[in-house]
Amino acid sequence: MSMWLNLAFLLGIGLTAHAQGPAFDEYQVKAAFLYNFAKFVEWPPGTFANANDAFGICIVGQNPFGSTLEVMVQGKKIGDRAFAVRRLRDTQQASKCQILFIGAAESKWTRAALEALKGANILTVGETDDFTAAGGIIGFRLEGTRVRIQIALETAERTRLRISSKLLGVAEIVNRQP
């Protein structure tokens, strides 16, 4: 009897150790990464005019996150600043953005949009395969069932953004092709 109980306990522990959590949608994980980018990247002084200006995460064009991103950053702060999630229809209004996400649905115009942002102190994030080659700073890739990030270091170094070594350590560093 005790042997079966032992087995049951070990099995129980074993099952718990391998238990899959509830399924997460790809965009929930990407939204969590965007929140982390805000924590692990430094924007140059003078980025914000006032102490209570919100930290802007902007999505250009089609929004694949639904309401996930807003829900995720609600009530959280970066330093003393609250987050503001904005939806833009083009890069014209990007001045209030610290992080700018361009979804896969916009692939026809991504390069032109990134060129308009060249050198600006905005962390550009995308998910198309050629996002970093097109001039973006951080690109998401799906490897099997996990989300990976690629960072184009040269592109980042042309801005005054400073990416923490913690973030560089988990990413694949790629250099933008000329």
């Binding site: 150790a17 997460f24 649905a105």
Partner: protein, 683 residues
């Protein structure tokens, strides 16, 4: 856990028991079990390394990447759809170079890719979310029955050129794949209404929500009422159209590796058209009358995607599609069931393989119309198919894709459709590709079994003869051997270019051969039947090119110019006695040009203009159609994040123009200058 000596034996056991519990618990607590985040917000508590290990579900299957495809692909994106001012899928298709869209009346279009335009468009495969929507009766598409709200379209992928290997028979000249948004992308409410000249009114109400933690759904209802249009001679013609549609879609994440989609629609429509037809009951005579088309249709589709590991996955899809369509007196009741299976996997580091199989059964029940009947009037057909395709990485920048499809159909037995594509990434910004394929068009029910009375001929002896188009059960499949070369380049950051050229050889195309006249033995007055029997005694050599570009002129203004050229040479084989064997070449324009311009005027106001120039259709037997230029323009105003107003003008350059001619007894109407306003509210 102390124990007194007197109860040692009993407590000894329980002590050991309890000790084991504690040790197990302690071990359990020490084992680094990643505390499963219970909600999405908890993901923000994980550190970067843990976030990298979270498994995700991604409903997006292995999508064809346009930049590395070995075929002429064009993707109509959501921005193209939202900013085009188009109100129907045929109108959207105008922007694809190589497609010829000719509106015949308010609810009928002749749509073709790379030639062979006629009402039936029998050489193009059209699918909605993997469900085939061409009718096995004629191999054509009843565009009036395909109602997908434009707001729910994720993208439309158009492949110009044969898609036989992946998609099967009837993908001879191209594939149009309409993909709707996942239910997760259409959460919340949406109400849109439009009204305009030509008594046009449309409304859509849609709502999407969550089901438990694992699913999402949307339900929708839409209605449209389009008014009567102008006939060539100036009088108003009955081509009004009322349609109503209810639909749903649900998407589920059953587990991190399993996704399920279930979707369905109910549709009803009533349309008017004026026809010039023979009436065969009693004494044959010709009449022009107002015909009513009525359609009732429904479908339900389920698809299960299972991810195995590292991008390898399987997909199983089942659908049922049924409709009852009454047109020109003919009542068609059709039911189709289809099962499809697909497995994509990587072998080693160089091979991406897709293989699969499918079965489709379709059965019909046809009641004779004014001048059309089918012999036999009921039939059930089966289609078995299997395919395999391997994308081989020959070198870091060179891929060779080889594949074939093998099918067995009820008309011509076994058919095979092989293809090969070579894709070379010259640089990171330029791709050169070439392909060769064989594709077939399986005969349709009409090719084998139709009897259509088309003309009355007075005879010398005072009697009447009736010319009857007759199907031929000996028809073989039409065959295509196609060769293409293309080039894609990102010329500068702002300018991308895409060029595709093709040379296509067709065999076994339809001709109409004279048969032996006979006296009809029907009850009623006798008359002479003069049969014209379908045969496959024509061949063709078509060639051409399509060029298009996307250019961001400034950061507020971008333009997309496009041009297509098509030269068709169609001729009867020596055995053919059909004098009009090559006439179909005159039904497609040689040159088409388009340019679309998108301007962001202010933060909330944008303005789009599209110009389409379609060349002349010389006489294919039904009169010629002059070339025309069509200008559409849209002004969109966004109030906050949830409200959108737009005003759209279509055909602004001339009061009315013809895009096609009378076809298969249907009298054509003109495309008129019109304006409509639309409001969309999302909440």
């Amino acid at each position: 856990m102390s124990s007194s000596p007197s109860t040692r034996t009993y407590r000894g056991h329980s002590a050991i028991f309890l000790t084991r519990i504690c040790i197990s618990l302690a071990l359990g607590l020490c084992v680094p079990i990643p505390g499963p985040a219970q909600t999405a917000r908890d993901l923000t508590q994980l550190d970067l390394a843990d976030l990298m290990n979270v498994e995700v579900t991604s409903v997006s299957k292995r999508e064809q990447k346009v930049s590395t495809a070995g075929a002429a692909i064009y993707v109509i994106s959501q921005e193209d759809i939202g900013r085009s001012g188009a109100t129907s899928i045929p109108d959207l298709l105008r922007m694809v170079p190589g497609i010829h869209v000719a509106q015949i009346n308010a609810h009928t279009w002749a749509i073709s890719i790379r030639g062979f335009t006629d009402k039936y468009g029998d050489k193009v495969l059209v699918m909605i979310d993997g469900r085939s929507v061409y009718t096995p009766l004629t191999s054509g598409v009843n565009w009036d029955q395909q109602d997908v709200p434009l707001e729910d379209i994720e993208r439309i992928e158009v492949i110009r050129g044969p898609g036989g290997t992946m998609w099967g028979a009837n993908a001879v000249n191209g594939v149009i794949n309409i993909i709707t948004k996942s239910a997760r992308a259409t959460q919340g409410g949406l109400i849109s209404a439009a009204a305009g000249s030509q008594e046009a009114g449309r409304g859509l109400v849609q709502y999407g929500g969550q089901i438990g933690g694992k699913g999402a759904y949307r339900v929708l209802g839409d209605y449209a009422n389009l008014g009567n249009a102008l006939a060539p001679r100036g009088e108003t013609v009955a081509d009004g159209w009322h349609k109503a549609h209810a639909g749903f879609r649900s998407d589920w994440e059953l587990s991190p590796k399993d996704a399920l989609t279930v979707q369905g629609d109910l549709f009803q429509s009533r349309e008017g058209q004026t026809i010039d037809t023979l009436l065969i009951k009693d004494l044959p005579r010709e009449a022009i009358l107002d015909d009513w088309i009525s359609v009732g249709a429904g479908n339900v589709l389920g698809r299960w995607d299972h991810t195995l590991s590292n991008g390898s996955g399987t997909s199983l899809q089942v659908y049922y599609d049924g409709y009852d369509r009454r047109e020109r007196g003919l009542d068609e009741i059709r039911q189709t069931v289809d099962v499809d299976f697909e497995h994509h996997l990587t072998l080693g580091s160089r091979n991406n393989i897709v293989w699969g199989g499918g079965y489709r059964a379709t059965s019909d029940d046809l009641t004779p119309g004014y001048a059309i009947r089918y012999v036999p009037d009921k039939r059930t057909d089966s289609l078995f198919s299997t395919f395999v395709q391997d994308e081989i990485k020959l070198a870091p920048r060179l891929w060779l894709t080889l594949g074939t499809k093998l099918e067995h159909n009820s008309y011509t037995g076994f058919e095979y459709e092989p293809s090969g594509q070579l894709v070379w990434n010259l640089t990171d910004r330029q791709t050169l590709w070439a392909s060769g394929s064989r594709a077939i068009r399986q005969p349709a029910r009409a090719d084998f079994n139709i009897r259509a009375d088309v003309a009355i001929v007075p005879l010398d002896n005072g009697g009447l003869g009736v010319v009857e188009l007759t199907g031929n059960p000996n028809r073989k499949a039409e065959r295509l051997y196609d060769f293409e070369v293309g080039y894609r380049a990102q010329a500068t950051q702002r300018l991308s270019l895409d060029i595709a050229t093709f040379s296509s050889h067709y065999y076994g195309l339809q001709t109409n051969e004279p048969g032996n006249p006979f006296l009809t033995t029907n009850p009623g007055p006798t008359y002479l039947v003069i049969p014209i029997i379908f045969a496959d005694d024509a061949h063709a050599h078509n060639y051409g090119a399509e060029v298009f570009a996307n250019w961001s002129v400034t950061h507020r203004w971008k333009i997309s110019p496009g041009y297509s050229f098509l030269q068709m040479h169609v001729a009867g084989d020596p055995s053919s006695q059909d004098p009009a064997a090559g006439a179909i070449a005159n039904e497609s324009p040689k040159h088409q040009f388009q340019i679309r311009s998108f301007v962001n005027l202010t933060r909330n106001l944008d303005w789009e203009t599209s110009v389409f120039q379609v060349g002349r259709l010389t006489d294919g037997g039904n009169g010629s159609t002059p070339g025309y230029t069509r200008l559409d323009s849209r002004l969109g105003w966004y109030v906050g994040e949830f409200l959108e107003f737009s005003i759209v003008g279509q055909n602004l350059l001339s009061p009315a123009h013809a895009e096609y001619h009378d076809a298969f007894s249907i009298l054509h109407t003109l495309a008129e200058r019109s304006v409509f306003c639309k409001v969309t509210w999302r909440f």
